[in-house]
């Protein structure tokens, strides 16, 4: 295999050394992944796995990719967001620990920071297109775009034609239809063959999981899926603690505005919204929550936040962050009523929470790019707002996303899920599954030592008293942590 040149398209392979240095530092902060590498060094449970990954191509993801490879898998990768790639990470993964920029020996990666939508879907297709007509046999997805392309591709091939896009469709959908039109012309069974080889997908995030459950309900899901997002050590950690860390990092790097004393609105009080609210409150902003779910709204109120409607605070707040997973949360009309130099950003997975295209269509509006991913939009009356990362998730666009330690927790779930689906395929029928609680607990266990946590052990008598095994699992499945 070393003789084959590594296919790739990244920004600049000369960044590999910087990337490798950062990967080395990240490895220390990702004890779960490193423990798995050690544990499975001999058995290589992912030998013969061909994994296509669609997940933010960051330094932490590089450690994930190299862990999958260390466990025996062949891997091809694309990012799942046009802005989230760290070019030095992509370069280092392509070059690999033993290669050089002139002789890359790592993993094929198709990702760079600042892809166009066309380039983005081209990259996703490349990650799914393996040599010799072998497709991937495993998907590792974040947001579900790889899964979507395979499913839509197979659907189009079954129908024999690509539907006409209409002007009302989002731009991105028209791009996807374009990709499918080209592939249908080149190979009318490409996606059907790929879908047929895939044993399963492990999905990283809420949005992608939501899509999977929809497909399972409609009966269109073509292979089993593990919902990694709803592992406790993923959603309760990555979503909450990761966003708590990276939200203010993104806002600070983008604007260097003093957050203390400002009024900040967080739309959505799920796990992400909770982390965001704590993050801004920790900087002593006055945080206001908007919610549609009475339970989350009550939680926010009991946590001491003012819960308002966006309309009622739109002209007062200094910072707006969307964290809903829903669309059309902040409209162009909302933005036109915001205070001068209000900061607007999104930390939800997709860029449809804030209506950026609607903003661009307002008569007389001008866009002044302050620096990459920081745009000032100037309204005809002269007042302006500052939009971060064009409404895409700002913690990745303006900062470096979640820190390594949090991602170690998430990605250890991913690796365990890949091992489960690949080695115990028959245990996972078509449908969407969550990881067994014991594996969830195991992920947590693997991170305790690094933080100096000394866990207390149940005695046999205590375990019997509450009716659990000494070694776990300790909580019933419905326990909410």
């Amino acid at each position: 295999m070393a003789a084959e040149p590594v296919p790739y398209k990244v920004a600049d392979l000369s960044l590999a050394e910087f990337g490798r240095n950062e990967i080395r530092l990240a490895q220390h902060e990702m004890p779960g992944l490193m423990a798995l590498r050690e544990e499975f060094a001999g058995s290589r449970p992912l030998a013969n796995a061909r994994i296509t990954g669609s997940l933010h191509m960051t330094i932490q993801t590089a450690v994930l990719i190299e862990t999958l490879a260390a466990l025996g898998a062949q891997v091809r990768w694309a990012s799942c967001n046009i802005f989230s790639t760290q070019d030095h990470a992509a370069a280092a993964v392509v070059v690999g620990p033993d290669g050089t920029p002139d002789d890359p020996r790592g993993v094929p990666v198709f990702a760079w920071k600042g892809e166009t939508p066309e380039e983005y879907w081209w990259c996703t297709e490349q990650a799914l297109t393996w040599p010799d007509e072998l497709g991937p046999n495993m998907l590792l997805d974040d947001g579900g775009d790889a899964t979507l392309l395979v499913h839509k591709g197979a659907e189009v091939e079954a129908a024999g034609l690509v539907p006409e896009g209409s002007d009302d469709d989002p731009e991105e959908w028209r791009v996807i239809l374009g990709v499918l039109r080209d592939s249908l012309a080149a190979d009318p069974l490409k996606w059907t063959k790929i879908a047929g080889q895939i044993l399963g997908v492990t999905e990283e995030t809420t949005t992608g999981v939501h899509r999977l459950y929809e497909m399972a309900k409609e009966g269109t899901l073509r292979f089993p899926a593990i919902n990694v997002n709803d592992s406790v050590t993923k959603s309760k950690f990555d979503n909450k603690y990761g966003c708590r860390h990276s939200l203010i990092d993104g806002i600070n790097r983008a604007t260097d505005t003093l957050i203390g004393g400002k009024m900040a609105v967080i739309c959505g009080y799920g796990d992400v919204g909770k982390g965001c609210a704590e993050s801004l409150r920790g900087q002593r902003a006055r945080v206001i929550i908007t919610e549609i779910d009475p339970i989350c709204a009550l939680q926010a109120a009991m946590d001491g936040y003012q819960v308002s409607r966006l309309e009622d605070v739109i002209d007062e707040a200094d910072i707006f962050v969307t964290a809903t997973g829903n669309r059309h949360i902040i409209t162009a009309e909302h933005m036109s009523r915001m205070k001068h130099q209000a900061i607007v950003g999104n930390i939800g997975h997709f860029d449809n929470e804030i209506d950026i295209s609607g903003l661009g269509r307002l008569p007389g509006i001008r866009r002044n790019t302050i620096k990459p991913q920081v745009d000032e939009w100037i309204f005809p009356d002269g007042h302006s707002i500052i939009v971060l990362s064009e409404g895409r998730l700002l913690n990745l666009g303006n900062a470096t996303g979640h820190p390594s330690f949090v991602m170690s927790s998430s990605f250890t779930n991913q690796v365990l899920a890949q091992i489960e689906l690949f080695t115990r395929t028959d245990q996972y029928p078509l449908g969407v599954h969550v990881l067994p609680k014991q594996l969830d607990e195991r992920v947590a266990r693997l991170h305790l030592d690094a933080l100096g946590v000394r866990l207390t052990e149940l005695s046999k008598e205590q375990a019997a008293y509450i009716g659990v095994p000494v070694e776990g699992p300790y909580k019933p499945d419905h326990y909410r942590y």
Binding site: G261, A285, L298, D303, G304
Partner: protein, 426 residues
């Protein structure tokens, strides 16, 4: 009732309560190791031998321990209550049972009796005075000027009292030096910052049993007490609104993430109102009329003038007294029911137990050290209001750390030299 030592007497509610009071004093003593250390020092050095000390303080277990330090040092202590509602009768009885202590304090006395008690306290012909709010010093100057020449000096605990004394000093009326104990670092930090805030929340909870999470708490005044009350309310899950008159304090509140509004706008938004300004008419009839049904009103300031209780009574069409201990319900014509705690008097002392003993330990230790310093003659201060000397503050902190068993680093000679030098730069 005449005490064994002759002409001085105590006026207390019920001497039978002494045993219960002594048990509570013993409990408080465990949390007051600094005064314990000072009592040992006083017992051996007798700094107050033959001296008379008049003190007007809240009659609580902590005050009893301060009195114990002064009597251990050879002093005779005459105590009056600094607030007619804050007297704990069992403590008063316990104190009155001790040699060298005379107590004139009963809970719930009227204004005439309150001042009569101050006079009986001054009958002890004080060498030193300890005041809390300024009533004792004021009465001494206004009505007992013949006693003034003998007074060496005094201490005042509260910001309210210190402000009064400053006005007296400015008018040339203050006859002796008074150490302002309210501005010492240890006092600000522990008393207002940790003590008052905890006990105000305690008083609020005891009187109402209200869940603070999800509620909007309006704190009037963002001084050392108000800011700490705000922090605690937020810590319990409340949204906090601050009202202020000082732009610097208001900015501090904003930068700590609180909302700042004028009281007129806060009035309809709050579930709980806590005044901590030291000023008067902070919550007026107009504000009260705008409040929501069920709003709770509490005052943490020294005097009962922050909430306009008379206006509340005028607005009310019905008053249901004592719906819970220390909680009265005022029904307005609109049908709104407003809950006033502790008659608008200092809620942490009336509905709860005042500052925890550990906080008062520091506060009173500083005052005991200040009294020792004044009576030693080393102070040699002119008449007027004087700040607590830094040396006493440092000593209090040192004793407290020693009592906690906390060890700290010492500057090295090289560090001292470096810090004293202006020559070293980048």
């Amino acid at each position: 009732m005449i005490a064994p030592e002759g002409r001085f007497g105590s006026d207390i509610a019920d001497p039978e309560l002494a045993e219960a009071g002594l048990a509570r004093i013993a409990w408080a003593e465990r949390a007051m190791p600094v005064l314990g250390l000072l009592r040992e020092e006083c017992a051996s050095k007798q700094p107050f031998a033959g001296r008379s000390i008049a003190a007007c303080l809240h009659i609580t277990a902590e005050t009893a321990i301060l009195a114990g330090v002064l009597t251990a040092g050879g002093g005779r202590v005459h105590l009056a209550a600094s607030n007619p509602l804050s007297t704990q009768d069992d403590i008063a009885a316990a104190l009155a049972s001790q040699p060298g202590v005379f107590v004139n304090a009963r809970t719930g006395v009227d204004r005439d009796t309150y001042y009569a008690h101050l006079h009986r306290t001054l009958d002890g012909a004080p060498d030193l005075v300890v005041d809390d709010g300024g009533d004792l010093v004021n009465t001494l100057h206004a009505e007992r000027p013949e006693l003034l020449p003998a007074v060496v000096g005094g201490c005042e605990s509260t910001s309210t009292g210190v402000a009064r004394l400053r006005r007296m000093a400015a008018a040339g009326s203050l006859a002796f030096p008074v150490v302002a104990a309210d501005v010492s670092v240890t006092r600000r930090m522990f008393d207002n910052g940790y003590g008052t805030s905890q006990s105000v929340i305690d008083g609020l909870l005891r009187a109402t049993n209200i869940l603070l999470a999800g509620k909007t708490v309006v704190v009037a005044g963002y001084g050392s007490s108000g800011s700490a009350i705000a922090e605690r309310a937020a810590g319990l899950g409340a949204q906090v609104i601050i009202t202020e008159v000082d732009p610097v304090r208001a900015l501090d509140a904003i930068m700590r993430g609180h909302r700042v509004l004028p009281m007129a706008e806060a009035a309809p938004a709050g579930d709980v109102f806590i005044t901590a300004t030291g000023s008067r008419d902070v919550i007026t009839g107009e504000h009260l009329a705008a409040m929501r049904d069920g709003a709770v009103l509490a005052n943490a300031g020294h005097f009962d003038v922050e909430i306009d209780v008379r206006a509340l009574a005028d607005l009310a069409v019905q008053v249901n007294r004592g719906i819970r201990p220390h909680a009265d319900e005022y029904v307005l014509a609109s049908g709104s029911r407003l809950i006033l705690l502790a008659d608008g008097r200092v809620v942490n002392l009336i509905a709860a137990e005042g500052n925890p003993a550990a906080v008062m330990d520091l506060s009173f230790a500083a005052q005991a050290l200040a009294l020792m310093w004044l009576i030693s003659g080393e102070a040699a201060l002119p008449a007027g209001v004087h700040p607590m000397p830094t040396a006493i503050d440092t000593e209090v902190a040192r004793l407290t750390l020693a009592a906690h068993g906390t060890r700290i680093d010492e500057l090295t000679a090289a560090q001292r030299e470096y810090l004293a030098s202006w020559r070293d730069g980048s």
